[in-house]
Symmetry: C2
Subunit: 223 residues, 2 copies
DNA sequence: GCAAAAGTGTTACCACTACACCCATGC
DNA sequence: GCATGGGTGTAGTGGTAACACTTTTGC
């Protein structure tokens, strides 16, 4: 039997920070690239599921509070086999896409959320630059035909906040009036009261909540 | 260092057989489930890419002619970590979706294409039933916004054949006239001559070819 | 009252559906 | 000429984009 490749997981955890899309990066504690900012990851333990390993990476390397690591939305992005070498041998990484609700938890151990627009393409070690790009493409795609945006927002939110999520991820402006009608038409939003105060002037907005909060609904593309 | 999980690849290879969607199944040559029909797979070699391993599985276990195995369209579906056990230990499989042009090559070693509709849900070993279902969902999805159908057809084809691909995969009838206008509007098809003879009666149809034959074009959803 | 932000309505346009009709070939 | 299948045109419908307008709050 030949030597087995190392199986690892990495996580691209997105969150909203000051209205912009941000990604969690943690300094590497081991060679190679020791000290460099990278996507948090971990080697798969023998009797652990891929998703469990991803949560462990968030709670461990990235220093996310345990409650936050448990509540993060995670889904698999795919396996990456860049043939780079690790001290332990050849590595294949199963990457997961994570989404974190606003307000963002405070990571520890030097990890932090970085605005995606400010992460230079070649700044990340290994193939993490390409991995980040693939995660962005997936997120943009799913925004169009699922309720995945729900996982970037608090339980209840204003429609204007939801629109900002779409604009931050798709990186383009959307028409306010049409966004309202479209999103309300598809019937995935329920009113959840009215925002009280906190805003200067203006009519107080309704708050909304996604129905089917847990699952992802597949409807016709709605943007 | 704890024991490492085994990393394998499996392939869901689809093709068209008598106008119906078919999947390649091969009898297992090793325990467990020795002799049972299953998706062809292989353990990942230490310095082999995932795609290369998938092609090796097709040429080896499934007995596909070398030329056919080389020309098959392959893309990654995802990693599956059903915690089933192999004599070698816990296994994680990176599954690939494959598409094979008409006419189908003749596999060897007992492998054969089976109409998807006739594969009973629980008939396959391991989690291969769920894997097959996931591959179908992916294929249906991609049919809507890419030119992936090209990889199920010969280089040139009649529009009516293309429509049959869509109908076979989506499992529903489509309107002939609207299918024509829609597919021609998106500008991914180029005329490639006229079919000569071979048909009983009727006007001889134009043949078409996908432009951008290699890449997959992403356009607005077009069906 | 005025500014600010939420929420609604109107119109032109474009894509999709369904269906009818025309075209070119073999027999 | 007639059956057969390829290919085209058209009217109705519904969603989308752009934009103007109304409503409700704070000061």
């Amino acid at each position: 039997m030949l030597e087995r490749p190392v199986l690892a997981v990495d996580v691209v955890l997105f969150g909203l920070q000051a209205g912009a899309l941000a990604v969690l990066l943690a300094p590497r504690r081991e060679a190679p690239f020791r000290g460099a900012l990278a996507l948090p990851g971990a080697a798969l333990a023998p009797d652990e599921s891929l998703l469990a390993a991803a949560r462990r990476a968030l709670a461990g390397k990235a220093g996310l509070p345990a409650a936050a690591a448990r509540e993060v939305h995670l889904e698999q992005l795919g396996a990456f086999d860049g043939l780079y070498r690790d001290p332990r041998g050849r590595t294949v990484s199963v990457v997961h896409l994570g989404l974190c609700r606003e307000p963002l938890p405070a990571p520890g151990g030097g990890a932090a959320f970085h605005p995606v627009r400010e992460v230079a393409p070649g700044a990340l070690p290994f193939d993490h630059g390409q991995v980040l790009e693939a995660a962005l493409v997936r997120l943009r795609g799913k925004l169009r035909y699922t309720n995945i945006a729900a996982f970037l927002l608090p339980e209840t939110f204003r429609l204007e906040e939801l629109q900002r999520v779409y604009e931050a991820v798709l990186d383009r402006r959307l028409n306010r009036a049409n966004f309202r009608t479209k999103l309300l038409r598809i019937g995935l939003l329920a009113r959840a009261g009215v925002a009280r105060g906190g805003l200067q002037g203006g009519r107080p907005p309704h708050l909304y909540r996604f129905t089917r909060g847990d699952l992802e609904a597949e409807e016709r593309d709605f943007l």
